[in-house]
Amino acid sequence: MMMNNSLKSLSKIRSGTIISGKWHGKRYTIIKELGAGANGVVYLVRASDRQAALKISDNPSSITSEVNVLKSFNKVQGSALGPSLLDVDDWNQNGHQYSFYVMEFIKGPDFLSFVQQKGPEWLEVLVLQLLSDLEILHQNGWIFGDLKPENLLVTGPPARIRCIDVGGTTLNGRAIKEFTEFYDRGYWGMGSRKADVGYDLFAVAMIIINTAYPKRFNKTTGGESQLMEMVRRKPELKRFEPMLKKALLGKYASAAEMKSHMLGALRPSQKQSVSSSTPKSRTQLHQKKYRTAVSKPKKKSRFLETLLLITAVSMIYVFYLYIQVL
């Protein structure tokens, strides 16, 4: 994609330049460019005492939208959805007004580089972390939208995946705002561009497939047939096959369900004992076993306890009344 002219000028801000905010008066010194995309340019900057990432754009609407999403993410307690937001302001320069926001600098390689450097066993770890984050995000009514390896950075140690670029984040039920073809359900002819849980989980499946095809591939026939054929061609994707199929077909109701399926499929003992059955039944079996073996009797015994207590109390009460009457 080509940039328009003013965005081009924004991508050439020299290191040492001071960006000073019109409304809040904070000053940021440019260190270097971190990246650029359709919605703006991101710089590493020095704020008073620490480093931060600053995203600047000539389009105040896109900055405001992203700030709205980050504010909402930051309100979710006990999780790290997206970078934390530090400041929002405008910068006047050569008669132009640009909008920017400053956020936590997330230091680390992107998803694909990390998996390539550290080995395939990290793939599961990161995908499980991602699914946990998506579950919280979805529970708060959001769909991430433009989910792709470039928008996933890995910080650490300990290694932790972080989503950046909330430019595509949409309220559940609305139309997807921004997407990248390879990860887009609509492009592959496998569903609509309405923002729903399945849209994000489709992208997660494509990110896993992407690790076996770092250069991606184009649509030929599209649909399930092409994507599953590409999955079968790569031995390293074998263990994910049933899970990928379900995610591509939109059969998972939540990120948590996909996560538990993945965990179930990874358990080595189960893999041997139920290797012929489909992983779907494997998780179901797994869950059923758990429920019957642990939770039900527990509930039952607790119920009995309560019953006993109530009977005892009422008996004492009746006895008390009886004494009063006498």
Binding site: M2, S61, V67, S99, G186
Partner: protein, 246 residues
């Protein structure tokens, strides 16, 4: 807030017009009538010449829309991005006018407000973008140089209807080609909510040598008007221009 229907003309071309009215003047005229013109310049590996670039930017500027130069492989994504961006821009304009009425005088746009106050305004714009009725008239340049890009254009338009039909607001599309077989402009597809029928029409396109961009915009304008006056005549409802309706 009543927003009426957003009317967009989407021009897909690869360079310079060479016949008829000045397309920039026609774009300005369309804007005066409440339409927005977006232009996508499709190029191959070849670079676009300065004059072509100027015309593309000029049409969008005069037409109150968005322009973007793109390699043909990236057309699909660009078409939807440009359309969305222009929608937001227009809706932002409506909301800004409203703001000016409420806040008066010096506040003419969202940028005049401190960043803290912009969030809610943006939510309104987003909400409108999701629900507003949209009409897109697509004008495809089918001059000789565009010939081998037409399959990509077709894909991009199908993709556009996929994107827009994910919204809850209704969409209507129509498609015109220029130059036409006999006339300067030819209607390929009448107003329709989705573009699937396009697949059968596109392969039959023959390409011509001239590029009458100005006349094409003029024709598109009158097509929007025709429909409106006809509707007004039939139902006597005073559906107004976008700008007047707030």
């Amino acid at each position: 807030m009543r927003t009426g229907t957003l009317k967009q003309i989407l021009l897909i071309t690869d360079g310079c017009s060479n016949q008829g009215e000045d397309p920039i003047a026609m774009a300005a005229l369309a804007r005066e009538q409440g339409m927005t013109i977006n232009v996508i310049g499709v190029i191959e590996q070849d670079v676009i010449d300065d004059q072509g670039l100027k015309e593309i930017e000029g049409i969008a500027l005069a037409g109150g829309g968005v322009s973007q130069i793109v390699y043909s492989q990236q057309l699909s994504q660009t078409v939807q991005m440009v359309t969305r961006k222009a929608m937001t821009q227009t809706l932002q304009g409506v909301v800004n006018k409203e703001l000016q009425q409420i806040l008066g005088g010096s506040t003419t746009s969202m940028e005049d407000l401190p960043p803290e106050k912009r969030g809610e305004i943006m939510e309104v714009v987003d909400e409108l973008g999701e629900t507003v009725e949209l009409e897109v008239l697509v004008l495809v340049d089918t001059s000789a140089s565009m010939k081998h890009k037409l399959p990509t254009v077709k894909e991009a338009l199908l993709d556009l209807s996929l994107s827009l039909n994910a919204r809850s607001g209704s969409n209507r599309f129509s498609v015109f080609a220029f130059p036409g077989k006999r006339k300067e402009v030819e209607k390929l597809l009448d107003w329709t909510p989705n573009l699937e029928t396009l697949s059968s029409i596109f392969p039959k396109l023959t390409t011509g040598g001239i590029t009458p961009t100005g006349p094409a915009i003029k024709e598109a304008m009158s097509y929007f008007q025709q429909k409106r006056s006809l509707r007004r005549f039939l139902s006597n409802d005073d559906e107004q221009f976008f700008e007047e309706s707030i």
